[in-house]
């Protein structure tokens, strides 16, 4: 349950703008902005630069708002986990209901602005993404099932689809391929983290895969998803959306991903430091940025030539 007001925050707020900015999960937002921009750029048709910028801003604010709602609801979990104990609510700098109001208001503004100034398909998709992340993932799945981040990963996979819909006011196979890549990326990314943070998650009572099914099963599932991810990374090339430069880069990035996942798979139970899991977690972030960067760069070059 969310923290009650009397547990945190002084009566007179000392919250600075930075605390509110941190409620938006800026690091997650940077990935959202980037992938949404890629979806927007590769979409056929034209969009004025001003409308494109507004679309990206609205998607970023909407994603940030869902982050604030997540931090409001999960303040009890965040307080007992080392990684998140310094977030604004558990640290006592922002009162829970301030974060709730912040998240609800920004959700409303981002969806309405996207609808009024861009189109209502992308606005509807953004609203669904916020709903899916804040309600389906945060309030329901996260504390219920070890498949939490598998299903919840859909929320993080939506931004390129929203970017595409902002331009075309329609959907197609291509943005769904981008969706699939991020969707398959989420489990190995989070489970690598969950392996070396299992004690934290256990203390918070979050049923992550290592805590429920054990490390062995998690390591095997990471490897399976990594192979699926590397294969899905080849789809933009296989389906002809991108050329050989992307194809080669995706193959190389995917093979390194699988090699890192294999190193995780072969970790024994005596390995408490779990260096391979930490390495995979770090590499997974690089992988997604690099894959989308190459995908974008090749399209930019093709468009310019």
């Amino acid at each position: 349950m969310a923290m009650t007001d009397d547990m945190a925050a002084p009566v007179i707020s000392e919250a600075t703008p930075r605390d509110f900015f941190n409620l938006l999960k800026p690091r997650v937002m940077s990935l959202v902005v980037f992938t949404a921009f890629v979806g927007l750029y590769v979409a056929p048709g034209s969009i004025s630069p001003a409308i494109a910028a507004i679309a990206i801003l609205a998607i970023a604010i909407g994603a940030g708002a869902s982050g604030a709602l997540n931090m409001w609801y999960d303040a009890d979990i965040d307080a007992v986990m080392g990684r998140t104990a310094l977030r604004p609510i558990p640290a006592g700098r922002v009162a829970p209901r301030e974060a709730l109001a912040f998240g609800v208001i920004l959700s409303g503004f981002s969806v309405v602005m996207l609808g009024l100034l861009v189109n209502w398909l992308s606005a509807g998709l953004l609203a669904f993404t916020i709903f899916f992340y804040a309600i389906i993932y945060t309030m329901w799945l996260k504390r219920l099932t070890p498949q939490n981040i598998v299903i919840g990963g859909a929320a993080g996979a939506f931004p390129p689809v929203i970017g595409w819909a902002a331009v075309t006011n329609s959907l197609a196979l291509e943005p769904l391929v981008l969706f699939l890549i991020i969707f398959l990326w989420t489990p190995p990314h989070f489970w690598a983290l969950a392996l070396f943070k299992a004690a934290d998650y256990g203390r918070a009572g979050v049923p992550m895969m290592p805590n429920v099914a054990g490390n062995r099963s998690t390591q095997r599932q990471i490897l399976v998803y990594s192979v699926l991810l590397a294969a899905s990374g080849m789809l933009p090339f296989a389906l002809g959306y991108n050329g050989p430069v992307y194809g080669l880069a995706a193959a190389a990035l995917g093979l390194v991903f699988i090699r890192n996942a294999w190193a995780v798979e072969t970790m024994g139970p005596e390995d408490k430091a779990m260096a391979p899991a930490k390495k995979l977690f770090g590499y997974s972030i690089f992988y997604l940025f690099a894959l989308f960067a190459v995908l974008l760069a090749e399209r930019v070059v093709i468009d310019l030539v």
């Binding site: 007179i12 000392e14 600075t16 703008p17 004025s48 001003a50 507004i54 602005m113 009024l116 100034l117």
Partner: protein
């Protein structure tokens, strides 16, 4: 009527935080106005003038 003994003086940290929040809110509001203005022009263009007078 607020009795003097019920009044409190904000600490410097509280005053500073309030001031920073006020400035940030003003900037966000100004940015919002610009976004609506620019967005309206970009979306409607010359059609902005196309209305019954």
């Amino acid at each position: 009527m607020v009795r003097p003994e019920d009044q409190i003086e904000l600490t410097p940290a509280q005053k500073r935080a309030r001031r920073l929040r006020n400035v940030a809110l003003a900037l966000v509001l100004a940015a919002f106005v610009v976004i609506v203005y620019v967005g309206t022009w970009a979306k409607l263009g010359a059609n902005i003038l196309n209305r019954p007078l």
